[in-house]
Subunit: 131 residues, 2 copies
């Protein structure tokens, strides 16, 4: 069992890694600050390039699949819709492997969406296509 | 002389107040997290509504005018340009009076831009026009 503090630190490290990835590919990107209340903000990252603006939920896993609570995905979708932004999930798998998938296309189950290392786009493809 | 910590707390309080103002008017808005390095991020707030996305630098003053360093304004402008966002300055004057001005239109001096309570748009006008 990984402690809450350790998991949080890993999450922030992954967000920073992803901000750097965006920067390397010519995007601006920022991490969203925790809100004052205990409520989790609806997105972890905002990235933009030439007017395309993405709201990104960032996840980390040591397994082959990551399950993201439907509630969280739906909050991201509604945040993005209200703002007119694109909603994406970005999942970091072991050894720095990232997968990117539009939140709306992620595979829905009863209470979560499931992202595997075969889903969505890998980094190279994502950044080549998403220019 | 106001201490650094006190000034920072006032800055964050103003950012939260502005996030609430955006929310009340149907925008999504988030505070930008401090970057890992000591470097200040290029914007304090990102606000979006129906695809219009603003990068906002937030300032507070107890005086009649606020001077913002040119370097800071230019970083905001270049961040916004790269992302394809609109760059705005939002200055909070005493008694909760906000003024909003596009960063590009703020009055330039040798080392700073100057925003007075007569410059740009007041809250009501800003939120009525900017829909």
């Amino acid at each position: 069992m990984v402690s809450h503090a350790r998991r949080k630190a890993k999450g922030i490290a992954a967000e920073r890694e992803l901000v750097s990835l965006f920067h390397e590919h010519g995007w601006v990107a920022i991490r969203v600050a925790a809100s004052g209340a205990s409520r989790k903000p609806a997105a972890d990252l905002i990235a933009a390039r030439l007017g395309r603006v993405l709201a990104v939920e960032v996840k980390v896993t040591r397994d082959d699949a990551k399950y993201v609570r439907l509630e969280e995905v739906d909050e991201l979708l509604s945040f993005a819709e209200q703002g007119g932004l694109e909603a994406w999930l970005a999942v970091r798998f072991p050894r720095g492997v990232w997968r990117f998938i539009p939140a709306r296309l992620a595979s829905r189950r009863e209470k979560s969406v499931r992202v595997t290392r075969e889903d969505g786009l890998e980094s190279e493809v994502f950044f080549e296509r998403e220019v």
